[in-house]
């Protein structure tokens, strides 16, 4: 148990950060990250060492967050953003960002803006982006985890990327004005 406590101490920030990035709620992120550690302890015998321990733990917390988000989704109406994406064409009306809107930014500033922009996405778009860009999962794997088709993953990822680019450009314009 002492060794496990040490593992928790070493990786708790990363696991909590993943939960928070998906849930955008401190209390839920705390609860889910702790639940993930309990599950990790219970399934320790199943850890085969095919990936690193922290990657394995991250997969557990992601699954817990996805379950929780599914419960949330049942309780609320579809987001306007998701409806826009499903109707199609909205992202095509977004202007293509040709100049890097983050040029010259400090890394901490850049991360702040990324965090702000991620917070403005619907959870479906944010989750696809996180799983693809941060967790480096393939379309097929994301579709499996999110229980949707590969086509849905592709269109959500496309919309999320285009929206992120436009939000970053908007922050730049705000900064200049």
């Amino acid at each position: 148990m002492l060794a496990f406590e040490e593992l928790v101490a070493r990786h708790r920030d990363k696991i909590y950060a993943r939960a928070f990035s998906m849930m955008r709620n401190e209390d839920e992120a705390l609860d889910l990250s702790q639940e993930a550690w309990v599950k990790g302890w219970q399934r320790l015998k199943q850890f085969q060492g095919e990936s690193s321990f922290v990657t394995w733990m991250t997969r557990i917390v992601i699954n817990l967050c996805l379950d929780q988000l599914r419960k949330h989704k049942r309780q609320r109406a579809e987001s306007i953003e998701l409806l826009e994406e499903e109707l199609g064409g909205v992202e095509r009306q977004m202007p293509v960002v040709t100049v890097n809107p983050t040029a010259g930014l400090e890394r901490s500033e850049l991360r702040q803006r990324i965090d702000k922009a991620l917070g403005q996405l619907s959870y479906e778009h944010r989750t696809v982006l996180i799983l693809h860009e941060f967790e480096e999962l393939e379309y097929k794997e994301i579709a499996k985890r999110m229980q949707c088709s590969i086509g849905t993953v592709m269109s959500r990822l496309f919309y999320a990327r285009r929206r992120m680019a436009n939000l970053m450009a908007a922050y730049k314009r705000e900064e200049l004005s």
Partner: protein
């Protein structure tokens, strides 16, 4: 550019297209400035996010965070440990007492039923009685069966030779004489 083509460009960027199709698309993109601009924007967003996930720290002390995990683990463990501690033969013992009780009750019930309602295969003659009959012309027998819930009295005439030619009774003979 239609939506399908845009998603194809994204798949190409993410390395999700088959090699042959990817080569064909690369040739087409090289000749299409609008497609190039879109691919550049998608690539920029992708590289912007890579390695720039906003870092977060658990907003609780190490001890407090761990104490909640530890309590949850301990709550879930006694049941698991108890299951593991009992060997299979000992686990069967817990079913032995109820099973013995069931067999005992069944045995007693069967015995009682047999006692009260003996089987019809028993000697039926036990229930055949000669009924006292004062008539010199008839004979009667009674049969009772509790299982069949019946009582039969069989009355029949005495045989002719007995009535027409009764054996000589020394007393009667003496009387007539």
């Amino acid at each position: 550019m239609n939506g399908e083509l845009q998603l194809k460009l994204q798949s190409w960027l993410d390395g999700e297209l088959p090699e042959r199709e990817a080569r064909r698309l690369a040739v087409w993109v090289a000749q299409n400035p609008a497609a190039q601009a879109l691919v550049e924007e998608l690539r920029m967003t992708k590289s912007l996010l890579a390695g720039n996930e906003p870092p977060l720290q658990v907003p609780e002390s190490r001890e407090f965070y761990w104490s909640k995990i530890e309590r949850a683990i301990q709550r879930s463990e006694p049941v698991e440990e108890a299951r593991e501690a009992i060997p299979w033969w000992a686990a069967w013992r817990r079913y032995l007492a109820p099973a013995a009780a069931v067999v005992l009750v069944a045995g007693v019930t069967l015995f009682t039923v047999k006692l009260i309602h003996p089987s019809d295969t028993d000697d039926a003659s036990r229930f055949l009685d000669v009924v006292e009959n004062l008539s010199e012309y008839t004979e009667s027998f009674a049969f009772r069966s509790q299982t069949e819930n019946m009582f039969v009295v069989w009355i029949h005439a005495k045989e002719q030779n007995q009535t027409s030619e009764p054996e000589a009774d020394p007393v009667d003979d003496a009387f007539y004489q």
